[in-house]
């Protein structure tokens, strides 16, 4: 590699934020095009990484490593593998959309766009970091732009929501930091020098008891981010009060830091604890699936409904990851991307109608597909994708997850399948109440259909939803080697035998090993 493409992915948006802030105040019309161009450039870099990615290499690629504070063992260490690849791609894909979706923000527009770009850089940094301190720095520092995004440009109860979001996630990070420091202290004992390098920490020999504690310290931080069932209370407020772009990024990418963290750190660093606790976490995930869906059904506020649907959908991802089977984990990874696309699209759609009607109450609408046929079409399509209709992306992920988890936790998988059904209930019922029926209020009659810009925002997402639903192979090809490596490592370390390993199956589908 001739140039450090991963560094560029992180620092281009950060530099972009500085550029946007530096634009002359007299030319406000420049802000959006410049921010958009920078985010498209970042997307181009991410596209380059996806295409240039070596399918046969299950390890980290495009690795960059520079010692920054060598006496403490802190490195600037970046790399991408099949697990992080599509999260980076998703991040860089959603930001240009979020920027275009926010052109109507007039209050401090420069600061808004700069905040978005900062957020993008930090998020990509989270997924690319191979040094635990670097990871933590990005993980923690992105709270600040997100906090301002909600607190400055959010809805009516924004201050409360922003504070709740910040305190909840910071509480999780506190445990994470202690866990990271403790891990490095272990490294100091065993290797004779402190290190925060993820690849070196993988060689640590951690006692089973310690693994439980560390699993808990990392797990709480990630469970709050996901959010896993009992830690989800910050999410509805933050999602509902955030501006549209904030909700898209929050649901689309930020939550994936939690699932990514589980997969990257908890499974790899603490395999014993992961195997022992997999059943417990899968059960929590299923509780989240059902709970999120049931609560979503009764929401009177459409944005809150979408927010609760995230709790349910992210439960599937966790269920897949802790199935510890090839299909389950791969399904979990691809479902992270799917959820980013569909929920991102749902928040965009809700934002579009909110801009017109300034209410999120489902009961205020009714019959608007007569005045907004295009909008209704896009909405119905996204609803189908989110509910897992075959042929669209949600189906691929949910099917793999259910298949993979049935082999390990059959009862949980059956209950989770009910969640798929419930998703159809809350989404279609919401559609019915908003779009069908009598068009009986004057405000609703005055609504205008979406314009070219809004269609332009939605079409790329729709295209990807169809593409991933029909032909997920290029994505799965890149994910699977990395997933296999994680499972190999767990089997190797713990003697755990994962059912349904792809490596156990020949190409024509016949099992060759018992």
């Amino acid at each position: 590699m001739d140039f450090n493409v991963l560094s560029l992915l992180i620092w281009l948006p950060v530099a972009g934020a500085a550029i946007v802030i530096g634009l002359p105040r007299r030319r406000p019309e420049l802000v959006v095009p410049v921010a958009f161009a920078l985010s498209i450039l970042t997307l181009g870099l991410a596209g380059f990484v996806v295409v240039d990615f070596d399918l046969s290499n299950p390890g980290f690629q495009f690795v960059e490593k520079t010692a920054i504070w060598s006496d403490l063992g802190i490195d600037y260490n970046l790399g991408v593998d099949g697990i992080s690849l599509f999260l980076v791609a998703l991040t860089s894909f959603l930001f240009p959309i979020a920027i275009v979706a926010s052109v109507n923000i007039t209050d401090r527009r420069k600061e808004f766009m700069a905040t978005l770009l900062l957020l993008e850089g930090a998020l990509i940094g989270v997924f690319l970091s191979l040094d635990l301190i670097l990871f933590f720095v990005f993980f923690e520092v992105l709270l600040v732009p997100m906090y301002f995004l909600i607190g400055l440009w959010g809805g009516e109860r924004r201050l409360e929501a922003a504070l709740k979001f910040f305190l909840y996630t910071a509480l999780g990070s506190a445990f994470l930091l202690v866990g990271i420091i403790f891990l490095s202290a272990q490294a100091n004992d065993q290797f004779g020098s402190p290190t925060f390098n993820y690849l070196e920490l993988l060689n640590l020999d951690i006692s089973t008891t310690t693994q439980y504690w560390l699993f808990a310290a990392f797990g709480i931080a990630f469970a709050i981010k996901v959010p896993l069932f009992p830690f989800h209370t910050w999410l509805p407020d933050a999602h509902t009060e955030a501006p549209t772009a904030g909700s898209v990024i929050l649901a689309g990418v930020l939550l994936k830091m939690g699932t990514y963290g589980f997969l990257r750190f908890n499974l790899n660093l603490f395999p014993h604890a992961a195997v022992e606790l997999a059943g417990f976490l899968a059960a929590l995930a299923v509780v989240g699936i059902i709970y999120g869906a049931v609560v979503a059904i009764v929401q009177p506020d459409i944005k809150r409904l979408v927010a609760y649907s995230s709790v349910s959908h992210l439960g599937f991802v966790i269920l897949g990851i802790f199935a510890l089977t090839s299909q389950g984990v791969s399904g979990g990874v691809i479902q992270m991307v799917n959820h980013g696309l569909t929920t991102g699209a749902l928040f965009l759609l809700v934002g579009m109608i909110y801009e017109r009607r300034h209410t999120r109450e489902i009961s205020a609408y009714g019959g608007i597909q007569k005045v907004m046929p295009l909008f209704a079409g896009f909405f119905l399509f996204t609803v189908f994708a989110s509910a897992g209709l075959p042929g669209l992306n949600g189906f691929v992920g949910e099917f793999l997850i259910l298949l993979g988890s049935y082999a390990r936790h059959p009862i949980l998988a059956i209950i989770a399948a009910v969640g798929v059904l419930l998703a159809a209930v809350y989404l279609l019922w919401a559609y019915e109440r908003v779009f069908t029926g009598e068009l009986d209020s004057d405000e609703n009659r005055a609504l205008t259909d979406i314009g070219v810009r809004e269609i332009g925002i939605l079409v790329p997402i729709v295209a990807l939803i169809i593409f991933l639903g029909v032909y997920p192979k290029p994505v799965l090809d890149r994910i699977e080697p990395a997933v296999e490596r994680v499972l190999d490592r767990i089997e190797d370390r713990t003697g755990f035998d994962s059912p349904l390993r792809i490596s156990d199956v020949t190409t024509d589908g016949v099992e060759v090993t018992p």
């Binding site: 520092v141 504070l163 930091l177």
Partner: protein
């Protein structure tokens, strides 16, 4: 050991000369304030240069001078350099206040320089009597500075409270010295160390009581809980222009003295004093954080947060000598942050003001973006958000404490830093998001920022960010700034 080394007292001589010249010229000629600034500046510059020379000399060959009274080692030299820089920034911050003092301006400047001499000697003292004298020089100057705007009742209260409780702490410290002397027969820090490493005490009760009292006395000075009761009233009652200097200077000097005593004289007894320090640290962190949440005045909030920070710094001390570089890193970066924060306060509520309700900060971002921006940065740093010096400070002391086996303390610290976010963020919310209903009449109008203050604030902000991103240079220096 016997020859006189002027270099060992170089910075102190430069500052004392400055004080003498200022006071004598003031009596006879009534010079202008710019003359005052020039004299104080050159005296500080001289002290700074001599501190750097000390460093160059001591890095090669650390020695103890003046019959065991003063150490000429990198620890002392670093203390001198940092304290002179701090003094210079503090004077820049306090300059609007100095200009308001009229005929008392010279006394004010002289007192700041005088307290600096005491602080520098605290970091360099190698003898308990020397340390006590240095402590008193620094403290008495600070008592007077606390009540300098004596026209207000609060300043009087602050001064008296500080004086009474501070003298009490000095007495406790002295009692500790006496007990330690009774147990070891030595008043020298290094003599004590030598005695303790060569002899095994049959009954260490007197020594342990002495160590305990010494720690309590210095914990008082650095406002660690449960010996912090004076701090909020004093910092609030003192003029905003000097509160920052009082907090920052007392912290640097106090922790320097504490660290030197702990890791040299009583190093063999680390397993006895470290748990006690750990408990004080935990109490300070919890009490400081919880009480800061309840404050509605930013100066009291900063005072309680400084109690919590004293706890975090003590967290580094449980690791003994290994923790000293990171105590330096923490206390130095924190000192400049707290100085900067009080500098903003001195603009918003006036340099001589005492009360500073949080509501004054509502919408500050619109009225004074630069001021609000630097205060926001300092708040984020104190809260320990990455890319600021505050995050790295916490990371380092936590790491040392984990290595020393104090995981419980680190857990308390980590959780408390989250609770701390609550009140640091509240300031940012008020400044930027300006929730309705909290705006008061007092908050109207754009505060004017003097040039000196602008320079000081820019410097503090740059330092906070720079050492948060590239801590290497400072880290290299503090890892060698060890006591002899």
């Amino acid at each position: 050991m016997t020859e006189i080394s002027y270099l060992a007292i170089g910075p102190v001589i430069a500052l004392t000369l400055g004080v003498v010249v200022i006071l004598m010229v003031e009596v006879s000629f009534k010079p202008s304030t710019s003359w005052l600034a020039a004299t104080a500046g050159s005296s500080l510059l001289g002290a700074f240069v001599l501190g750097v020379l000390q460093w160059a000399e001591a890095a090669e060959d650390p020695v103890i001078r003046f019959r065991g009274m003063l150490a000429l080692d990198p620890f002392a030299a670093f203390g001198a350099v940092v304290l002179t820089v701090l003094g210079a920034v503090a004077l820049l911050v306090a300059w609007p206040l100095v200009l308001q003092q009229g005929r008392r301006a010279a006394e004010f400047v002289a007192l700041v320089l005088l307290s600096l001499t005491g602080m520098i000697l605290m970091a360099a003292a190698a003898h308990f009597i020397m340390l006590f004298l240095a402590l008193e020089v620094a403290s008495i100057s600070l008592y007077v500075l606390a009540g300098f705007s004596r026209e207000t009742a609060e300043a009087g209260e602050a001064s008296v409270k500080y004086f009474l409780l501070g003298s009490f702490a000095s007495a406790i410290f002295l009692y500790g010295v006496a007990l330690s002397y009774a147990a070891t027969g030595s008043l020298s820090l290094y003599g004590t160390a030598a005695f303790l490493s060569e002899n095994l005490l049959l009954d260490s009760a007197a020594l342990l009581a002495g160590i305990g009292l010494l720690i309590v006395g210095l914990a008082f000075k650095v406002s660690a809980a449960p010996f912090h009761m004076w701090a909020p009233d004093v910092y609030q009652g003192a003029a905003s222009g000097v509160s920052g200097f009082m907090t920052a200077g007392a912290k640097i000097a106090g922790f320097a003295a504490l660290a030197r005593i702990a890791v040299t004289s009583y190093a063999p007894y680390i397993s006895d004093w470290a748990p006690a320090v750990g408990v004080i640290a935990a109490i300070s962190i919890v009490v400081g954080t919880l009480l800061a949440i309840a404050q509605s005045d930013i100066k009291r909030m900063l005072a309680y947060s400084s109690v919590a920070h004293a706890g975090f710094i003590l967290t580094g001390l449980v690791a003994g000598l290994d923790g000293v570089p990171f105590i330096w890193f923490y206390v130095v970066t924190y000192a400049f942050q707290v100085l900067g924060a009080f500098a903003v306060v001195s603009v918003v509520s006036g340099p001589a003001g005492t009360r500073s309700p949080l509501t004054d900060y509502a919408g500050l971002a619109q009225r004074a973006p630069a001021l609000a921006g630097s205060l926001a940065l300092l708040m984020l740093s104190m809260a320990g958000i990455p890319l600021t010096a505050g995050f790295l400070s916490k990371l380092y002391v936590f790491r040392e404490a984990v290595d020393a086996g104090y995981l419980w303390l680190v857990l308390i610290g980590a959780v408390a830093s989250v609770a701390g976010l609550f009140f640091y963020l509240r300031v940012i919310v008020l400044m930027y998001m300006n929730p309705q209903g909290e705006q008061t009449a007092g908050a109207a109008g754009s505060p004017g920022v003097s040039d000196s203050l602008r320079i000081a604030l820019t410097g503090v902000a740059v330092v906070t960010l720079a050492f948060g991103i590239v801590p290497g240079p400072l880290l290299d220096v503090v890892t060698t700034a060890l006591p002899l």
